[in-house]
């Protein structure tokens, strides 16, 4: 009786092991349903500035992610610090732009005339912009269609008025960042903040990075350059959303940043 019992016990143990072994490959299928650990990093950027009117989000400004710490990118950072651009208002005044055009641009954070639809009210009446009126007349003369002339009006503006300030800014950014990818052996990534000053830098190789807007962003009365350092670890988006990297013009011991804030110069 005991023999039979032991024999059955052996069979049972063997069956158990063989069966367990045969299930081994399928264990991976179960693992497949669980969250795999992230291999890349994500940074949720939140940019704010304090002005006399209170704390505001910094909307629609491009920030760049450069491989390496602030010290490793010291040469670039010194160049960034030494660079100063004319403000939007000063640039357009230097080009002889009308008050109405400067107002039109400033009212909507526009760096060029391409940022808004040309509405009829800016072609005639109290809010008319002289540059637009002239361009519209030329466009109408050539295109013979009022609606097309209105929509295609920017084609008939002088290049400096059209996008001169924006072009200057882009040229400066390109000049500053040229050679950076070769030096750091990594691609420079860039994102633009949304209206709440938020932007996401995703799929980043873990490591230390410099985050900067490279050229000063105009706020109400000042221009601000941020040069910040961030140790990026592999993490998922959910975690990054809960723990944003806050950039501000106020001192924050939690963030390693060099902030250069200059008052907007009066235009000559």
């Amino acid at each position: 009786m005991r023999m039979v019992y032991r024999f059955r016990q052996d069979v049972f143990v063997r069956t158990f092991f063989i069966f367990s072994f045969s299930l081994f490959p399928f264990a991976f299928s179960l693992i497949g349903h669980t969250q795999t650990p992230p291999t890349f990093g994500v940074v949720r950027l939140k940019v704010r500035y304090k002005s006399s009117e209170g704390t505001k989000d910094l909307p629609r400004k491009r920030f760049f992610l450069i491989k390496g710490s602030i010290d490793q990118n010291r040469a670039l950072i010194e160049k960034i610090k030494q660079t100063s651009l004319a403000s939007l208002e000063c640039y357009y005044r230097s080009q002889g732009a009308s008050e109405a055009l400067i107002k039109w641009l400033k009212d909507n954070d526009c760096e060029s005339v391409y940022c808004r639809e040309m509405e009829d009210k800016y072609l005639s009446g109290a809010e008319a912009v002289p540059e637009f009126q002239k361009a519209f007349e030329q466009a109408l003369n050539e295109l013979k269609n009022r609606e097309v002339a209105r929509r295609w009006l920017t084609n008939y503006l002088a290049p400096e008025i059209r996008s001169g300030f924006y072009d200057e800014k882009q040229k400066t950014i390109q000049a500053l960042l040229s050679g950076t990818e070769a030096t750091t052996k990594a691609k420079v990534m860039s994102i633009m903040t949304d209206r709440k000053g938020t932007g996401y830098l995703t799929n980043i190789e873990p490591g230390t990075y410099t985050i900067s807007n490279v050229v000063a962003s105009e706020t109400d009365k000042t221009s601000i350059v941020w040069i910040c350092e961030r140790e990026v670890k592999a993490t998922d988006l959910g975690t990054a959303m809960k723990r944003p990297m806050m950039l501000s013009n106020e001192a924050d011991p939690k963030v390693k940043c060099e902030v250069i804030e200059r008052p907007l110069a009066a235009c000559n």
Partner: protein
């Protein structure tokens, strides 16, 4: 008896593991865009025009195409609205037009590159480019020989925040028409300069209780005609209208995939019970990074949905259906129905969905 029961349990666990492996989501194989080579061989050779032939490649675009052509009947904006004139073809292809051999059968095959039929007095031509306002006959296949090079990030740089209230614009064929003042709503970044609510596509399979008009038009349109480019690039701002290569790059003949694969087929940009009012980049978090439209997909991570659609946000968004509710429903019925159609909704929710609400 107990041992038998134990073995039975083991077998059950094994079967469950096997079943689990069967239901595992297989990696989706992306189907490449249909690539069709232009027909070759003497009979069909001159019925299909190839920009990529050695001779054609050696010509500048404006040696054949005039910018603009006569456009008034076909467009409401100046455009390359028609095929090149006869001279552009005849100056090299006289033999294909006028020899006796070319007249055998249905007529010179070369005529059918542009004309609906190969006949001496056939004036009717196929539609050229878009939009096809005059309802000309379109070619059987929408073949393309050029891709479009579009730096998305540069264009995003020059658009700006819209502080006030902007009129909602609808795309009617190609033109942008402003609605009445009472149809106004808040709008933020003007991505809508190029991407408006697409009135030509609709979800028609929604059940009656869900016939929210916004849900009927969930898609955003893409620019489909030169009008969207020429409003800034007609002249002066490079690349200008006559510089075709500024935007178009030669490619092997292909038929573009027009259908868009959507994972959350029931999502409507204008829906959310009127609360999908966030800025585009709040959910399309990677779009400002994109330096090209090549391979660009409108990816929206579930975490951005979870910013509102989760139980902990119920006090702020009481009307929102939450991801937790849908996950519970999946456990009961085996299908998520609020965001997904059956093809996706019946699959096991990916781990990202659980993680997003934790």
């Amino acid at each position: 008896m107990t041992k038998r029961a134990f073995i039975f349990i083991l077998v059950c666990v094994g079967v469950a593991a096997l079943a689990s492996a069967q239901t595992r989501r297989r990696p989706r194989t992306s189907r490449p865009a249909t690539q069709t080579q232009a027909p070759r061989g003497s009979a069909a050779k001159y019925s299909a025009f190839l920009h990529s032939s050695d001779k054609h490649k050696s010509l500048a675009c404006n040696e054949c195409h005039k910018v603009p052509t006569k456009w008034a009947a076909k467009r409401d904006f100046p455009d390359v609205a028609d095929f090149p004139d006869h001279d552009a073809c005849v100056r090299c292809h006289r033999q294909q037009f006028f020899t006796r051999q070319s007249m055998i059968g249905t007529g010179p095959a070369i005529c059918t590159v542009c004309h609906v039929r190969a006949a001496p007095r056939e004036d009717m031509r196929f539609a050229f480019g878009k939009p096809n306002n005059s309802a000309q006959q379109a070619k059987a296949k929408d073949e393309r020989q050029f891709t479009i090079e579009f730096p998305h990030d540069q264009h995003q740089n020059v658009i700006a925040r819209w502080r006030g209230v902007q009129s909602v614009r609808l795309e009617s064929h190609h033109g942008l028409k402003s609605l009445k003042a009472d149809d106004k709503k808040s709008d933020y970044n003007n991505c809508s300069i190029c991407h408006q609510t697409d009135m030509s596509l609709a979800i028609v399979a929604l059940a009656a209780p869900n016939t929210d008009p916004a849900m009927l038009h969930p898609y955003k349109s893409m620019p489909r005609s030169h009008d969207s480019c020429f409003n800034c690039h007609w002249k002066s701002q490079k690349p200008v209208a006559g510089d075709c290569a500024g935007c178009h790059a030669p490619a092997a003949t292909f038929i573009p995939e027009l259908g868009r694969k959507r994972i959350s087929a029931k999502f409507a940009h204008e829906g959310g019970k009127g609360e999908h009012i966030a800025e585009c980049t709040t959910c399309h978090i990677n779009i400002t990074r994109a330096s090209t439209t090549r391979g660009l997909t409108p990816d929206v991570p579930i975490n951005t949905c979870a910013a509102c659609h989760r139980d902990s946000k119920k006090t702020t968004y009481p009307k929102a259906v939450t991801i937790e509710t849908e996950l519970d429903q999946f456990k009961k019925t085996g299908e998520c129905t609020y965001c997904h159609a059956a093809d996706v909704g019946k699959k096991r929710p990916p781990p990202s969905h659980d993680a997003a609400v934790q």
